[in-house]
Amino acid sequence: MIMSQEPQTALLLAAASGERRAQLALYELCYPVLISAARRYYHNTDEQMTVINNAFIKVILNLESYEKGRFFSWVKRIISNEIIDEYRRNKRYNELYRFDAPVEERSTPDYQIDQIFSQEQLQRMLLSLSEPARLVFNLFAIEGFSHKEIAQMLGVTEETSKWHTKMARKKLRELIVQSHEQTSQRSVG
């Protein structure tokens, strides 16, 4: 479900002026967008809370500069940037450069992809990726940024971004196959 309804201008103005009730009401509205993004990147609740609340503070601080339009897309962009900043701050940045081996792309039979996965299963698979691979895959496959944009955001080359995407896909395919095999075994049993 995509949030299409814009918050009322009065609510935004009140939140920007520092009215606490308005800020909390706006937080309630933004929370689903924020938590959905945070869950794709972080396992633990404390990390999710830190990044969500950091992003929301930035939303409040920048409300005056927000021009009417797609509010929730703007919020999504803020949390994506916050996640990238958080990644940088936690000094995991160097891991982005740790790649050497060429990645062999293996095609996965369609029937395995067509298998229905719940959001929790998909999230679990995503979170089992290495941090850089998860970050790049999230930005590329889920949030829809191009490799060029990701390269600019992370300060790496496009090749690096592509390499991490391939690594992520490889690992995810393995997990899907693994999951398929487990399901088959259960049905045989």
Partner: protein, 402 residues
């Protein structure tokens, strides 16, 4: 954004971008509220800002009024003195004919007037015009010589109880010699304080108002071991605090009462100042300022050194402060949130200051001084956050002596 043909795997995971409605947990809301509190605290103008502005306005108005009033009084005294001098001149001119024709020393007819005038001059100004009667061979002239007045003039020569009499009683050559001699001695004498010196121990009281700004420097300790945290975590905690906490400034406001016994000065009153620091933790994106506000009761002792109109008084002492704003926020040792702390309700500080006082008149002085303060012991100590503070400031204000 990405316009390429999507891999089927990417499409599968794209569904994670969909948003389902859900509300935040209490833990999330509490954490957000503490951050919003910090944000609000940072943007709000502190109470002391208003206190300072109002007091400064009142003080400025009162000082201006006092100075203008003083100026008007001095002007009035000067014009009265001038008028009386004119009358004295007239009297002297009338008597000059008598002086030239009769004996070499003649007494002015208006001795009483001269004495009165002399007394007024004594009390009104440190520099005045002494009329001197210069007797020429052919005519008598009455000139004025501007001489800074000093009580030494009177002390040195008891017979010259009034400067006017210098001209009135002594013949021309003697007058000129005496005037030259006294001019030399007066001009070469060091300027004296307004209040006449005396051998008794001086005792005076003073009240004053000062305000200024201080820079606050905080230092903290991190426990070397903690059962709940590893050594690496403690090290990281220290690093994040070092990087994230910076000095801030404080408005200072002193209402003081002083007692001067000879050259020794005792000072007490009410001092307002703050301790604290700025926060900007990169790890958790927390911005803000911790301010611990204290109203202090100081006890200072000082010794004055007089340098003309300027007094230099080094003070040192202690103060006991009552906290009026104790809550602060710091990063948690786990680096994943903020930790609320409270400063001590009663805190002791060491104070040292070197005060410069410039006397505007016998009662009003303007003062300016650097001040150094240091907390005695830790102001905050909850086991994990152990903070001590120092500050260096510059204050200025007025002192009224009585």
């Amino acid at each position: 954004m990405n316009k390429q043909v999507k891999d089927p795997l990417d499409k599968l995971f794209e569904s994670l971008n969909d948003v389902a409605y859900e509300g935040p947990s209490t833990q999330f809301v509490q954490d957000l509220e503490s951050r919003l509190d910090l944000l609000a605290k940072k943007s709000k103008k502190p109470f002391v800002f208003w206190l300072f502005s109002i007091s400064a306005t009142i003080l400025f108005g009162a000082s201006l009024y006092a100075l203008l009033n003083l100026e008007a009084k001095q002007h009035q005294l000067r014009s009265t003195a001038k008028q009386e001098l004119k009358s004295a001149k007239a009297v002297s001119l009338q008597s000059s004919t008598i002086t030239s024709s009769s004996s070499k020393s003649a007494v002015l007819p208006s001795l009483q007037l001269a004495n009165e005038l002399s007394n007024k001059l004594l009390s009104s100004s440190s520099k005045t015009e002494f009329p001197v009667l210069l007797q020429g061979a052919s005519s008598s002239a009455f000139t004025s010589i501007s001489i800074p007045f000093s009580p030494n003039l009177i002390k040195d020569n008891d017979s010259l109880s009034s400067p006017l009499l210098v001209g009135a009683l002594v013949p021309q050559q003697a007058v000129q010699n005496t005037v030259e001699k006294q001019k030399d001695s007066v001009f070469s004498a060091p300027s004296l304080p307004l209040q006449p010196s005396n051998t008794k121990v001086r005792f005076s009281q003073q009240i004053g108002l000062q305000f200024g700004v201080s820079g606050i420097y905080s230092s903290f300790d991190v426990p070397t071991n903690n059962p709940l945290l590893t050594e690496a975590q403690l090290k990281q905690f220290r690093t994040e605090r070092e990087l994230g906490e910076r000095q801030t400034s404080s408005w200072d406001f002193n209402l003081r009462y002083g007692l001067a016994i000879g050259n020794w000065h005792l000072q007490t009153g009410l001092h307002y100042f703050e301790w604290g620091e700025q926060l900007q933790y990169e790890v958790i994106s927390v911005l803000g300022v911790n301010r611990y506000r204290y109203v202090n009761l100081p006890m200072l002792i000082g010794h004055s050194f007089e340098l003309g109109k300027v007094q230099l008084i080094p003070y040192a002492g202690l103060s006991l402060g009552k906290c009026i704003s104790a809550q602060g926020t710091y990063i948690q040792p786990q680096l994943n949130g903020v930790n609320l702390v409270n400063a001590k309700q009663l805190a002791g500080s060491f104070i040292a200051q070197i005060e410069l006082q410039y006397q505007l008149n016998s009662q009003l002085s303007v003062t300016c001084f650097p001040v150094y303060r240091r907390t005695i012991g830790a102001l905050i100590d909850n086991g994990m956050v152990i903070n001590k503070y120092q500050s260096l400031g510059l204050l200025t204000g007025f002192i009224y002596k009585f």
